[in-house]
Amino acid sequence: MSFYPRHVEREILSALIDGELDPSQRREVYEHLQECAACRETVEEFSNIHGLVGDLPRLIAPEAFVSEALRPRDPSRVQAATSTIFGGRRKWIAAGMAAAGFAITIGGLAAPAPANEPPVDVFIERHVTVHAGVETGGQVLFAVNGR
């Protein structure tokens, strides 16, 4: 019997695709999703919205704006202050693969080829961002297969 007798709160489903549920809550929601097409559809919708906004391109700042910002103003103080900013930068993971529509695999599961009705773990894999450890992120896919 699913933990959620009816439907999962929509706010929870929204948090699910952001990978913001704790593991036990996520497990309960997954169980419910296995049984509930309506909640799966909601996850797809939120996932699509997440993708629509996330796919908005990075813009290039206008040239004049950049050159204005670079007009010299007291460079010595700026130099001193910025010297500490980028200390930990090398620890950052490359996120380029996210730009290519990379979806995180949950628990190391391999994704089988999508059928008309993908298993729920495959479904979740497509729509849910999981923070594995502290520094893993996934881009939620816009297109949903099997529909």
């Binding site: 910002a69 670079l70 200390g87 502290v134």
Partner: protein, 202 residues
């Protein structure tokens, strides 16, 4: 916190920091900061305001604030400070102007073409404009949270620190923002895979 979790495409350009371990012991200067963050700041300004002129003014304001603040800046969470500065500058503008133009984006029809590639690009551009228009229609508090989450790829905890509200409030704002976007972008949200043309919307 912000240095550890880097998600989505938005900050990929920040990865390769010049001066980090190279032959520049003083680290990057203001020119590096501008080179690195001008596009980030301008993009976020545009996504929040939906208008080039407003975005330039806002981004300019943000850079001035960052420049002033750098003298007092101590080692810590630079991106958090940058986002917070952007949000605060955005809110100051909202207060001054009561509302930013919602229909500022042009509706000019795409030029005629026979190329499918160009056609596709035009559709994509139209889609981006639709999403941008919808974003600007959101209440500003939802818009801030959705942009930081979906575009900038920030976690709820990070957004909570930037907006100085509890993480539960962030979750709620993001959810409400998505519900509003779902209504505004209904044909795009329910359509699977294919990008519908705007005139197909019901």
């Amino acid at each position: 916190m912000f240095g550890r979790v880097l998600m989505g495409h938005s900050l990929a350009l920040l990865d390769d920091a010049p001066g980090g371990g190279e032959s520049d012991p003083a680290g990057p200067d203001w020119a590096d900061v501008v080179a690195r963050y001008a596009d980030v700041v301008y993009t976020m300004a545009y996504r929040l305001t939906g208008d080039d002129e407003d975005a330039r003014d806002l981004a300019q304001d943000v850079l001035i604030r960052l420049h002033r603040g750098l003298a007092r800046y101590r080692e810590g969470n630079f991106e958090g400070w940058l986002y917070r500065t952007t949000v605060n500058a955005f809110r100051d503008r909202l207060r001054k102007r009561k509302r930013l133009r919602e229909d500022a984006l042009g509706d000019e029809p795409p030029g005629h073409t026979t190329s499918e590639v160009v056609e596709r690009a035009v559709q994509l551009k139209e889609l981006h404009e639709m999403v941008q228009r919808a974003l600007v229609k959101l209440p500003s508090e939802y818009r801030e949270a959705v942009v930081l989450r979906d575009l900038e790829g920030r976690s709820y905890d990070e957004i909570a620190a930037i907006l100085e509200v509890p993480a539960g409030t962030v979750r709620s704002r993001i959810h409400r923002g998505r519900e509003a976007l779902r209504q505004l972008l209904e044909p795009y949200v329910s359509e699977q895979g294919e990008i519908p043309r705007p005139e197909q919307s019901t």
